[in-house]
C-alpha cells in the first residue's frame, strides 16, 4: 500500500485544470487548492465526478473582502488525493449555478450555504430554509463578516 498520491494521475488532473485556466495555489503531499474561473467550474466538476470517479465531499463558503469564496472539495479516493476547486462569487452577483440537478448529494450542502452566507444557487429544486430557525430574520447571514448576534433577534 503506497503512502503517497499517484503522481501520474495527479499530473493528469492538473493538466486538465490548467487547460481551463486554473491556477494552483497550494500543493501539499496529498491535497491541493486550485483557483478556477467561475464559468469553468461546473463543467470541470461534472467531468471529474463522472469520468474520474471523484466524490464531492462538501462545499465550503467563506466570506472575503470582494465577495464569497466557494470551495468545492473533491476526493479522489482511488488516488489518495483531495483537490479543492476555489471560485470567487462577487458580492454584486451572490449567485452560483446549482449542481443539485445532476448531483442530488449537493442539495443539503447548497441549502446550508444559502442559509449561512446568502448565496443563491440558481436551478436548485428546493432553495428553502434548512438549518436556521423559523424565527430567524430574512437577510441576516451568520457566517458573513460583521455579523452580530444582536442583528438576529426575532
Amino acid at each position: 500500500m503506497s503512502d503517497t498520491a499517484t503522481p501520474s494521475v495527479i499530473e493528469r488532473f492538473e493538466t486538465k485544470l490548467c487547460d481551463e485556466h486554473a491556477i494552483c495555489e497550494t500543493r501539499k503531499e496529498r491535497q491541493g487548492v486550485y483557483s478556477v474561473p467561475i464559468a469553468k467550474l461546473v463543467p470541470l466538476l461534472r467531468d471529474f465526478i463522472s469520468n474520474d470517479n471523484a466524490r464531492l465531499a462538501t462545499i465550503t463558503g467563506i466570506d472575503v473582502r470582494d465577495g464569497t469564496e466557494l470551495l468545492y472539495h473533491l476526493c479522489f479516493d482511488d488516488h489518495k488525493y483531495v483537490a479543492t476547486l476555489k471560485v470567487l462569487v462577487p458580492r454584486t452577483v451572490d449567485a452560483m449555478e446549482s449542481i443539485t440537478p445532476w448531483l442530488p448529494g449537493a442539495e443539503f450542502i447548497e441549502r446550508e450555504i444559502h442559509d449561512l452566507l446568502g448565496i443563491d444557487f440558481t436551478g436548485h429544486p428546493r432553495m428553502e430554509r434548512l438549518i436556521l430557525s423559523d424565527d430567524w430574520p430574512e437577510g441576516v447571514y451568520p457566517l458573513r463578516r460583521g455579523f452580530k448576534k444582536e442583528d438576529a433577534q426575532p
Binding site: Q31, A57, T58, H73, V82, F108, S133
Partner: protein
C-alpha cells in the same frame, strides 16, 4: 420487492415524524407523504440541533477548538477533533511522533467498537427486538470503562492535540485495553450470528430500503452506508492517517445496499476494529507523544478521517493569528441523511423506521398521523373515513396473502350468536 396496496383515489396522507419522537436521539422533523402504506415523498427539516459551531470556532484559539468540536457529536467525539487536528497539522507541516499516532488509533478504534455496538442495539430497539438492544449495550460497557480509564472520560475524550496527544496512555494500561476488547469479541460474534441466523430479522431487513450503487455515488454517501452499497471507500485506507497504514485490516464491503448489508458491514467492522486495537497495542513504540507545535502559520488545508458513521471532513484556514479564520465542519450524516430520498421512497411506512436508522442518525417509527391539508396545493390529503376504508382494504390484502378466510366469514356467525 413486495407489492404494496395503492391509496384510495391516489390521495396522500401526511405523516409528520418528529421533531421530538420517542426512541430518537436527535430532534429532526420528517414529513412523509404516503399513499396507502407506500411512502411517495419525504422532506426533512433540521435546525433543531444547529448551534453555530463553525462561527463559534473562529472565536476560539487553535488549541481550544478541539474541545469545541468534540462536542459536535458525542458519539464521534474522537474523530471530529482528529479531522481538525489533521488539517492544522497539514498547515504546520509537522510530523506526529509514532507513539502518539498509535495511541490516537487506539482511541478512535475503541470509539468505533462502542459506536457500532450502540447502533446494533438501537437498530434492534427500532425493530422491537429489545433483547438485542439490551445485549449490545451491555457488551459495549467494558469499552466505555476502558475509555474512561485511558482518557479520563466515558465520552468526550480530549486525547488528541495539535502535534500529538494530550496525555500519554501508560504502558501498564495496555493489558487492560486488550482484556476489554477481548471481552467484546465473543459477544459480538454471538450477536452477529444471532442477526445473520434470525429469520425474523431477515424478513425485516433483507431487500428493505435498498440504496443502489448508482444512488450511493449520486448522493455522495460515505462510511458504512456507502460500503454496504458496494462503494469501497474508507478514509483510513484511501488517505491513511495515524497508524492505519501500519496495521493490518480489511475494508468490509457488501454489494446489496439493503439494511441487512449495513448491519453486516457494521458488525464485521467491529471485529476489524478489535483487530486494529490489538495490533496498535502490540506495536506501540516508546518515546515522545508531542511534537510541540507552538504557532500555526498562514495557510489552508483540509483534514478528513473515518468516523464510525463515515467521513468527517474539516477545512481550516489560518491567517497566522491565534484563531482560525474559517473552520468548516461536515459531519458524515450530513451527506448520508439525504440519501433517504433514494432509499425510502417506495417503501412501506413500517420499514421506514429501520431504513432511517440504517444510516445511523437514529430515527424511529411512525406513531402519530395527522389528516391535514397540503399547505402548497390546498388539497385535502385524506379523511378519517377513507383511512378506515384503507385499513379494511389492507386487512383483506393480508388475508388473501396469508390464505386465511376473511374475518366476517370466520367470526361473523359466532359473533351474531354471542350478541343475540
Amino acid at each position: 420487492m413486495r407489492s404494496v396496496s395503492k391509496g384510495v383515489n391516489g390521495k396522500r396522507t401526511l405523516i409528520p415524524v418528529g421533531p421530538f419522537h420517542p426512541l430518537q436521539e436527535e430532534p429532526e422533523f420528517f414529513q412523509l407523504w404516503v399513499e396507502g402504506e407506500t411512502v411517495v415523498d419525504m422532506d426533512l427539516r433540521i435546525s433543531y440541533n444547529h448551534r453555530g459551531i463553525e462561527e463559534l470556532s473562529t472565536r476560539k484559539t487553535f488549541d481550544q477548538v478541539p474541545y469545541l468540536v468534540e462536542r459536535v457529536c458525542g458519539i464521534c467525539s474522537s474523530t471530529h477533533p482528529l479531522a481538525y487536528i489533521r488539517a492544522v497539522e497539514t498547515i504546520c507541516g509537522c510530523e506526529v511522533p509514532p507513539r502518539a499516532k498509535y495511541q490516537r488509533t487506539m482511541v478512535t478504534e475503541l470509539e468505533r467498537i462502542h459506536s457500532h455496538l450502540l447502533w446494533v442495539g438501537l437498530a434492534g430497539h427500532f425493530l422491537g427486538y429489545n433483547t438485542v438492544f439490551m445485549w449490545a449495550w451491555k457488551y459495549r460497557e467494558p469499552i466505555m470503562e476502558i475509555l474512561e480509564k485511558i482518557t479520563g472520560n466515558r465520552c468526550a475524550y480530549a486525547n488528541a492535540k495539535i502535534g500529538g496527544v494530550r496525555r500519554d496512555i501508560p504502558n501498564e494500561l495496555f493489558d487492560d485495553i486488550v482484556r476489554a476488547v477481548d471481552s467484546c469479541w465473543g459477544p459480538t460474534e454471538m450477536l452477529t450470528n444471532a442477526v445473520l441466523d434470525d429469520p425474523v430479522l431477515h424478513a425485516r431487513l433483507v431487500d428493505v430500503a435498498t440504496l443502489t450503487h448508482e444512488d450511493a455515488i449520486r448522493y455522495c454517501v460515505t462510511g458504512p452506508t456507502a460500503r454496504a452499497s458496494g462503494v469501497p471507500i474508507d478514509v483510513r485506507r484511501d488517505d491513511p492517517y495515524d497508524a492505519f497504514d501500519l496495521v493490518d485490516w480489511d475494508v468490509i464491503t457488501f454489494p446489496e445496499g439493503d439494511v441487512m448489508a449495513k448491519a453486516k458491514v457494521r458488525l464485521l467492522e467491529t471485529f476489524e476494529a478489535i483487530k486494529i486495537v490489538k495490533q496498535a497495542v502490540r506495536d506501540c513504540p516508546n518515546g515522545e507523544t508531542d511534537a510541540g507545535v507552538e504557532e500555526v502559520p498562514p495557510g489552508e488545508a483540509i483534514g478528513h478521517v473515518e468516523a464510525p458513521r463515515g467521513e468527517t471532513f474539516h477545512y481550516v484556514r489560518s491567517d497566522g493569528g491565534r484563531c482560525p479564520v474559517r473552520h468548516k465542519i461536515r459531519a458524515p450524516s450530513y451527506v448520508n441523511v439525504p440519501s433517504f430520498r433514494a432509499s425510502c421512497i417506495g417503501q412501506h411506512v413500517a420499514d421506514v423506521t429501520i431504513a432511517m436508522a440504517a444510516v445511523d442518525p437514529c430515527y424511529s417509527c411512525t406513531e402519530r398521523m395527522a389528516v391535514t391539508k397540503d399547505s402548497k396545493t390546498g388539497n385535502e390529503l385524506m379523511d378519517a373515513k377513507e383511512l378506515q376504508e384503507l385499513s379494511v382494504q389492507r386487512t383483506r390484502w393480508f388475508e388473501k396473502q396469508l390464505g386465511i378466510e376473511p374475518f366476517d366469514k370466520r367470526w361473523g356467525p359466532k359473533l351474531q350468536e354471542l350478541l343475540a
